[in-house]
């Protein structure tokens, strides 16, 4: 029996493993990071990737070498050498992974507590998820919107919750995600460092419209943020031209998230636009057409699945039992005003 | 037959003893609940004692690792 040396696969491991580890350390495998906390996450990610790359090379080198060197030669029907085990070897490959694990684990723990550490002068933003839209509240400014606008370099404390089912607050460029759970308020902290536009994506399956549950996120400079705040505060006041009922409807449709999917300026979105909707003839998915009157709007809000407008998906949640009659009337009144 | 009679008498005696134990622990349990402000841990201990009595003496859990008793 010829003794095979482990030299070749060992050399192979390093020849393969080191470049692979370096490659995985350096490669831009994730989208660009836009928050300070993300730096630590990316560091951990790269570290694990490099270790995994090296282990991959180790196993592949040894298995690959074995497959070639120890394949059965034609005509050979004998058995291999009866090696039953080797305790020092077993102990080695129990203890070494254990040490690596503890190393990575301690780093992970440190990062975890570091990214969740409260920071001075945080700005609080309350996030509410519901089927299938997001609502953002800025308690300091009394603003409620469907678009998340954040000043750069400002530590933000997000308090997230949900009203119906579980959603998850995730901006890929902000790295960490946090579930929004009915009856609970979860906290996550981010400090945006990069001005730009991002997309908030719901990351927990929440029903048929889950895939489309997005919101726009803008990270802007401090001055631009203050401008936006001033604008929003103005916009929150009901416009004079609206009757009190319609103004209430406008406010409601913002709070309930209607405007996340339905535009009021005629531009296309997830659901049909409200501009000029009232009194229009809408083609339905079943081939018929329907006149948009009060009765139709009422059914469509309470039980959206009954009549679907052609070209749209049935993803709107049913508001039956969630809206009082007065609120429903207010919203319909508001839709009527959008000529 | 005589030995069977003796065995029965012994088993019945064990039954009465365990039954008495259960009665006592139940009374103790009730008064713990009435008397203590936070009775959770004592109650848990008493419940474990009761369960132990039943599992060991009524359910013969030892049969699982000794095959002598009740080899019918």
């Amino acid at each position: 029996m010829k003794r095979h040396s482990v030299l070749i696969p060992t050399v192979l491991t390093f020849l393969l493993g080191i470049p692979l580890a370096v490659l995985l350390w350096k490669a831009p495998l994730l989208p660009p990071n836009a928050v300070r906390e993300g730096d630590l996450v990316d560091f951990l990610f790269r570290l694990i990737a490099a270790i995994a790359g090296f282990v991959f090379a180790l196993i592949v080198s040894f298995v690959g070498y074995s497959l070639i060197a120890f394949r059965r030669r034609p005509g050979d029907t004998s058995d291999g050498p009866p090696m039953h085990g080797n305790v020092p070897l077993e102990v080695t490959w129990t203890v070494v992974p254990l040490l690596v694990i503890f190393g990575v684990g301690f780093l992970g723990t440190w990062v975890l507590f570091e990214i969740d550490r409260p920071k001075p002068n945080e700005m609080t933003v309350r996030v509410t998820g519901f089927q299938f839209a997001w609502l953002f509240e800025y308690p300091a400014y009394g603003i409620r919107t469907n678009e998340l606008v954040l000043p750069v370099e400002q530590p933000i404390k997000f308090e997230v919750t949900a009203t119906d089912v579980i959603h998850s607050f995730w901006v890929p460029e902000f790295r960490m995600k946090i579930d929004t759970i009915p009856g609970r308020i979860n906290v996550k902290r981010y400090t945006p460092t990069r001005i730009g536009e991002y997309t908030l994506r719901c990351a927990e399956l929440c029903g048929a419209g889950h895939y489309a549950m997005l919101a726009r996120v803008r990270v802007v400079s401090g001055s631009e943020f203050l401008q936006w705040v001033a604008q929003q505060s103005g916009a929150q006041a009901p416009e004079e031209t609206l009757s009190p009922l319609a103004a209430r409807g406008k406010e409601l449709s913002d709070q309930l998230g209607c405007l996340a999917c339905h535009t009021t300026d005629g531009s296309p979105s997830v659901g049909p636009t409200w501009k000029g909707l009232f009194g229009k003839e809408e083609p339905l998915a079943d081939g018929t057409t329907v006149l948009v009157d009060e009765a139709y709007l009422r059914t469509s809000i309470l039980r959206p699945g009954e009549q679907i407008v052609a070209g749209y998906q049935n993803i709107m949640p049913a508001y039956e039992g969630r809206l009082s009659d007065e609120d429903l009337e207010a919203i319909i009144e508001y839709i009527k005003t959008l000529k | 037959m005589n030995t069977l009679e003796q065995l029965r008498a012994k088993k019945m005696r064990v039954g009465w003893l365990v039954g008495a134990g259960l009665a006592v622990t139940t009374v103790v349990e009730y008064y713990i609940a009435v008397g203590l402000a936070r009775p959770l841990v004592p109650l848990a201990i008493v419940a474990l004692i009761k369960a132990w009595l039943i599992v060991v003496y009524f359910m013969h859990i030892k049969q699982l690792w000794t095959s002598e008793e009740g080899g019918h």
Binding site: H4, P31, L40, V41, L44, I48, A49, I51, A52, V55, I59, F62, V63, S66, L67, F70, R72, R73, D79, G80, P81, P82, M83, H84, G85, N86, E90, W93, T94, P97, I101, V104, G105, G108, T109, V111, L112, I115, V165, I166, S168, K177, I181, P182, G183, R184, N186, R201, A203, E204, L205, C206, G207, A208, H210, Y211, L214, Q313, N314, I315 | -
Partner: protein, 632 residues
Amino acid sequence: MRLLWSLGLIRGLVWGIVGTAIGIGFTMLVRMALGKPAWETAPVTFVAAVFGTLAFLAGVGAFADWWRWASGEEAGDPPHHHEGPEWVRYFNFDTDHKIIGVQYTITSLVLMFAAGIMALIMRLELAQSGLQFVTPEQFNSAMGLHGIVMIGSILLGVAGMANYLLPLMLGAPDMAFPRLNALSFWVAPPAAILLFLSLAFGGFDTGWTGYPPLGAVGATGKQFFYLGVFFLGFSSILGAINFITTTLKMRAPGMSMFRMPIFVWGVFAAAWIQLTGTQFIGTSFLMVVLERLLGMGFFDPEKGGDPVLFQHIFWFYSHPAVYIFVLPGLGVISELLPVFVRKPLFGYKWVALSSMGIATVGFLVWAHHMFTVGLPNEANTFFMFTTMLVAVPTGVKFFSWVATMWGGKIEFRTPMLFLLGAFVTFLLGGLTGPFLAVVPVDQYLHDTYFVVGHFHNTMFGGFVFPFLAAIYYWFPKVTGRMYSERLGKVHFWLMLVGFVAQTGSMFQTGLFGMRRRIADYDPSLGFDTIHLIGSIGGYLVFFSMLIFAYNMIRSLVAGEKAPANPWNSRSLEWLLPSPVKGVSWPTPPVVVGHPYDYGVPNATFVRLAPAGGSDRSSQTTTPAHETKEANR
């Protein structure tokens, strides 16, 4: 017609339909008696489904012997002879573990194909951004069904292998409880029917996890899903009782725990998880059903409940469940590797105990599915460490396999190729695990396609590839015929390439922020090409499975006769004729050695020593010798 009625399956279906009708009538009568409107879909269909399932089982004949016992007759030993054509047995309530094993395996493959079709629907939709073929509801139903039916299929596949092999490998005449064994198989078909019935009642858009509050509202289809899973779990628990009892009490004389074939260790470890964990998913789903039917708000914060509680109960099973699938699969790898390498399994005890280690640690890691739920960071840290701890026993297995191969004489038959496929994919699955174990990184990767890629790799490496290896390997044992080696190899290479392409695309898109469980994705993310590649890979996998099916069916009918021991295996089951007829081991063999002493001169594993003194021993490479206690 008489032949048709003699098939338990047909009888069961007819009785099931009648039972369902009775259930509907009964519920409506009770409702009317209580002064409620007679028809309300949710409660009526629920009771009807329970009635239908019980009637199905009664129709199959699952309760016949127990009914006899209850009415005071002697039920006697389960019969081992059978009149009429042999194939009829496979459609009947039969207590022979070999029949049950085949029943399980075939059902598992049928379900695997059905769930595969669901995957094809999803891959078709995802090949391009935009919604082309299905609505989001249909997509979600396909996705949930793919998940849960695959899980069911894997559970049945594990049970199939375990049932067929355990008594043969342990030298036992049959399983410990043959009737219970047959019952636990026959619970599965109605459970599968219930899962697919959910489509007729609006589907379920929760995915296989069925999280409330989403699961507690909406279409009645979800109830069928919960009920189907509940019954599957029931079947799994009953099966586990059999596996554990058989392993502990029915081993041949001389077979100590550390002389058992390593596959039995895998099943034994998995069975403990099945026995204990499965109650958790069953009960958590039952609680959601109670919430739906009776309004008991276990998980509704407005009624004093808590949605997170569900996740704790659910994952306490559903994480260890992964090990139910993987441990027997890894057992297959450890079992077959020595045969094709012609060397003893390296570090037998370590490999055996690592299975128990994984099963134990597996119960301490559940909350790593909940790193984004907002648990206290102290808890998150604990679960991070326990989760990474799983890597240690898994690593022991992996390194032991490498050491087993080292210096051997590797023969590349089809089962061996599938073992290598399992190696590669399980390695990829294993190495992507630590990313998800480390909390901050997981908070990025959670619920992305990276996770999807990770668990598909562990499932394929830990179960699907080993399962296929096992089917190829034991096909001659079960049928007495050989499969086509050439088609087997084509199957393997197509499957490997397709699978790597598919999960590669999953890793790639997941890292870049592709969320799980979405019917459509943003074209601006630039995923179209890579998703298309993934879809092609997925279709390739399915196509390769069609080749597999063809190979199996053709070889069953026209394959060449298999030799008595085509692999020169030392294992017990190859000492019996193929296929095994009647009682598996009417007289147990006597174990005198170690199962994997390949290359050890004069080593003997067992002696078949009935009267007469003509010993047949399991020596494979050296001529029969006077038996000698192996020195280990």
